[in-house]
Amino acid sequence: MRNMDTASTKAAGPAAKSRPKAAALISGGLDSMLAAKVVLDQGVEVHGVNFFTGFCVEGHTHAIRKKDQAKDKRNNALWVAEQLGIPLHFVDVVDEYKDIVLNPKHGYGANLNPCLDCKVFMVHKALVADVLDGGFDFVITGEVVGQRPMSQRIDTMPVIARESGADDRLLRPLTAHNLSPTLPERRGWVDRAKLHGFRGRDRKPQIALAHRYGFTEHAQPAGGCCFLTDAKYAAKLQDLWNARGQRDYEFDDIMLLKVGRHLRPAPHYKLIVGREEGENNFLAGYRGRFPHLRTVSHEGPLTLVDGELTTEDALLAARIAARYSQGRAADTVTVRLNRPGAVAEELRVAPLPPMELPTAWHVGG
């Protein structure tokens, strides 16, 4: 295991405590909610843990996009904790998580999702590294054998237990009957007979169990909460690495990949064009650090420039910004180019006709 904390030497077992204590990985989706509930109902003290990696779909994206602001903006992990009546601890792992994304020992899934390494990391942090200092006896996940092609296979699930250092202190209550008995089962902290044997991608057993518990609503399906599983997002991240000539990122990079229309007319610069008011407002927060364009003769989006523009590039960038403005059909549009620390320039340009905007410039499709 790479760059992980030294395994805890805490003794497994609640000998001196009134009842066992478990950390439940809570994503905000249905499976982790049900898994925690199954164990909670057996008298175990359950604490929810939610890891903030920077690639989480919920929260940020909903907050940015104006069209999403009409939706319920609840944090689903918090909502789950409240439904279950358990505390929820957030863990900010943005910096540490980089190593998982950049150097996954087990590789990527369909896109840039390092699902197996990710789960190893999270189980390790929650239980073995004990980042919450909770002294947990075991850890609970909502994994189901056969549900995910990489991390939830009968042959990879033991890898998570072994490489995280949790070993038999990792309990998957929804699929436990498909796996060997774990320490909490053998010690009698939980009754194996009350656990489940779900298997495969069929969601019906989870939906039925949710109904049995009286959960009338739940959030997104499992696996849908990480941008790294998204093909378009992954393409934008790969493009960033290609353009910079190195596989690395900062927090602002991965935030900006979630926002706007990304166009790369040349290897040395990329344009990020706001698609609506919420995105323009979000991009406006970066004006002090990035060159940016704004149409002044017509209403139009804010366009950030990631890279350095030559005079020729600036004209093309202005024509592209004009193409996405209300002046797209006008003969000329005035565009203001601001470079941090420099005097603004005004450029009068003809909007770029759509047919002159190659599809290949659209990063991530």
């Binding site: 940020h60 903006k73 609840r74 944090n75 409240e82 929820l88």
Partner: protein, 89 residues
């Protein structure tokens, strides 16, 4: 007179970061301590009260202040067992 409380400035952060910063700040405070939070993400109107409820802290006040959102929180230290007993009772 309103008691002076330290202020956590979470303006410009998008959820869940304001809640994470709040969680980190509360960890350093004793039972009964007051904390004010300033935020701009409308999501905090949902997340901060929810976080207070699941951890048993008291949200004394929340209101808009120009473009900002201001929350006033009283830290409550009690175990989950105590909360469960209280809920049951």
């Amino acid at each position: 007179m309103t008691e002076l409380a330290p202020t956590l400035d979470a303006r410009g952060l998008l959820c869940p970061l304001p809640v994470i910063r709040l969680q980190d700040a509360v960890r350093t405070l004793a039972d009964g301590a007051l904390l004010e939070v300033l935020a701009t993400d409308p999501g905090t109107l949902h997340d901060i009260p929810a976080w207070c409820r699941v951890h048993g802290h008291s949200l004394l006040e929340s209101h808009h202040e120009n473009k900002d959102l201001r929350f006033r929180i009283a830290v409550r230290r009690q175990s989950q067992a105590q909360r469960s007993a209280k809920d049951a009772g």
